[in-house]
Symmetry: C2
């Protein structure tokens, strides 16, 4: 299919590329999710990469969606057990082709519910890291007591040095200003104690670099995980291993409490009488904690926008990831990060700081 | 005070040494907690280390407790901001003296709500690590969907190598058999993915060592934090940084959900009608998640039993920590760990495994 033809079909200038084959129940969940997202985002068109034999029978059930979709057939896909080193060599998978559409300028963002490691690896190879950023990070927006916060890295980098962490802080600050509409986000490093001496060496060094970064960041120091939900910080920075552990602990506990409530109500006749009165409250709490409404982690630090949907989410969850991608494109997020980062040289700064220490 | 006099006063053979000055509201919370614990444990006597001028006025309000207590006056105490390197040099603090009583054989366990880093540092210096264990760990027993699990390390060791992690697995297995009464606990390593290749190098190596340790451990592989509360593992092993992050994330989220429920009920007239019916359910869930009922983290791997109470807990919470200490003494836990560990040489094993790999 020629490039010219594509531009005719996709006459809107907001195009999102979709890996139709990623996730547990693809392509059904993906397409049903797109149908929800398309209603909410009438200015967006979709470029779907996947097996036509599987995609078309479902897509034709959603005529309104079909009108804003172009399907690009591909025979291969990335599997959950595939290693990043393998997937970057196969340019014929739906994931690779969907990401490559962003590099070619055919789309402004890519959304996939597939293998996270593969998505990050291909995005890095194809889109490349932006100048002055050493490593991209996975970012999510999370609920706290009276609002939301930005958290990164959630799993892209198992090990990080102080400069990586400081770069995450910079990108998180920019993201919080643009997505949470905060003038001066409070930025914190995740650690196991609030005292300066606590935690790992790289975290303590990152604190020094951020403090001196001339980026005018409102750095509030360390935050412990049990304070994350109190709303004291707007950006929380960690290495990918630690961030992933914290994120999944939060998810697991929220589920446990809801399950305990359900089990307990099931075994209480009295509670069943009270249930109709409490339904509103329960639904409100459930909604605040609903992981589907926070679906769509962004990969930041790349020359292009990759959004990762949870592999096990449903259509509503996938649609939220697509909404997030569309909003970030509208805000011109990648260009903003690039231009703001241009003025900071953390490498040089960290050398100065380390020099001062000895 | 002579050793002979002490043995007369403390005629029971189960003696627990108490740092009366540790924690946020000491010595009041400590003594009120002991009053609760004393009722539950009539076979236990207490050796209290603290400032008599502060301890006695409160202790005399609990005559039954006073009968089973001996107070040892000390003028100094460890503060929250004290560094481990300082506190190990001052032998006159209530914490140091309380730990030293275990070394002298005057008590079989020590409980403190003071500074965790200091408690671990003094315990290591005074009680020493048991043979074949390189580093002690902080262990807690946590709630899951339909029972409890043992988790370690929760913060003693910020960085751990594969052998440390394997040793924690061994100690956790023993602890789960004795405190949770399980014949064959399922042991897992905390990681950010279930696949073999995921996570950090030291975790992957630890998995190999545990599999080959001839300790007959039921090793089930990696567990992700959101699975911890599902009850699939009885022992969960992590380095101290990761374990602490996971533990505090769980605590924070449990609090967030309870707070959201409360806030939501406050703003709903309908919910207030239903509340009386739901009270039983709410209380049951609150009780299952109540951090006070899981208070009292043990330091394992030492020639003596140190139990750390949360610094901000109340009397009930402190009493739970004392109960835990008493139960572990009754089960002769330290001697059990020592004798079971005697037959394993993980150092040698890890050399074999690394040799096989190349």
């Amino acid at each position: 299919m020629s490039h010219i033809y594509m531009e005719q079909v996709l006459s809107s200038n907001l195009v999102i590329s979709i890996d139709a084959m990623g996730g547990d129940n693809s392509p059904r969940v993906v397409i049903e999710g797109l149908a929800i997202a398309a209603k909410k985002n009438p200015d967006v068109r979709f470029l779907l990469f996947g097996d036509e034999a599987k995609v078309m029978p479902i897509l034709t059930q959603f005529p309104a969606l079909q009108k804003v979709c172009e399907v690009r057939h591909c025979t291969e896909m990335v599997h959950n057990e595939d290693k990043p080193s393998q997937v970057i060599r196969n340019k014929n998978t739906s994931m690779y082709m969907a990401i490559d559409a962003v590099r070619k300028g055919e789309a402004q963002a890519i959304v996939s519910a597939g293998n996270t490691g593969a998505l990050m690896a291909i995005s890095k190879i194809v889109l490349r890291t932006i100048t002055k950023i050493h490593r991209p990070a996975i970012v999510s927006i999370m609920p706290h007591r009276n609002g939301k916060y930005v958290m990164l890295d959630l799993g892209a980098n198992t090990e990080c040095d102080a400069i990586n962490l400081a770069e995450f802080a910079l990108m998180g600050d920019i993201l919080a200003r643009h997505t949470l509409n905060l003038e001066k986000p409070r930025v914190a490093l995740l650690n196991i104690g609030a005292e300066e001496m606590k935690g790992k060496e790289e975290i303590r060094q990152a604190a020094k670099i951020i403090k001196h970064s001339h980026m005018n960041i409102d750095f509030i120091g360390y935050i412990e995980p049990h304070e994350m939900s109190n709303g004291v910080a707007d950006v929380i920075v960690a290495d990918g291993f630690t961030g992933n552990i914290a994120l999944k602990s939060v998810e697991g506990t929220a589920k446990l409490v809801v399950r305990l409530l359900k089990d307990s109500i099931k075994h209480s006749i009295l509670a069943k009488f009270g249930l109709p009165f409490m339904l509103g409250v329960m639904l409100r709490v459930k909604k605040t904690m609903d992981p589907r409404l926070y679906n769509g982690a962004m990969m930041v630090g790349l020359n292009g926008l990759t959004v990762k949907s949870h592999g096990g989410t449903d259509a509503l969850g996938f649609s939220v990831a697509v909404n997030n991608a569309a909003n970030l494109v509208r805000q011109n997020f990648v260009a903003t990060i690039k231009s703001e980062i241009e003025n900071v040289d953390l490498d040089e700064l960290s050398q100065e700081i380390l020099y001062d220490m000895y």
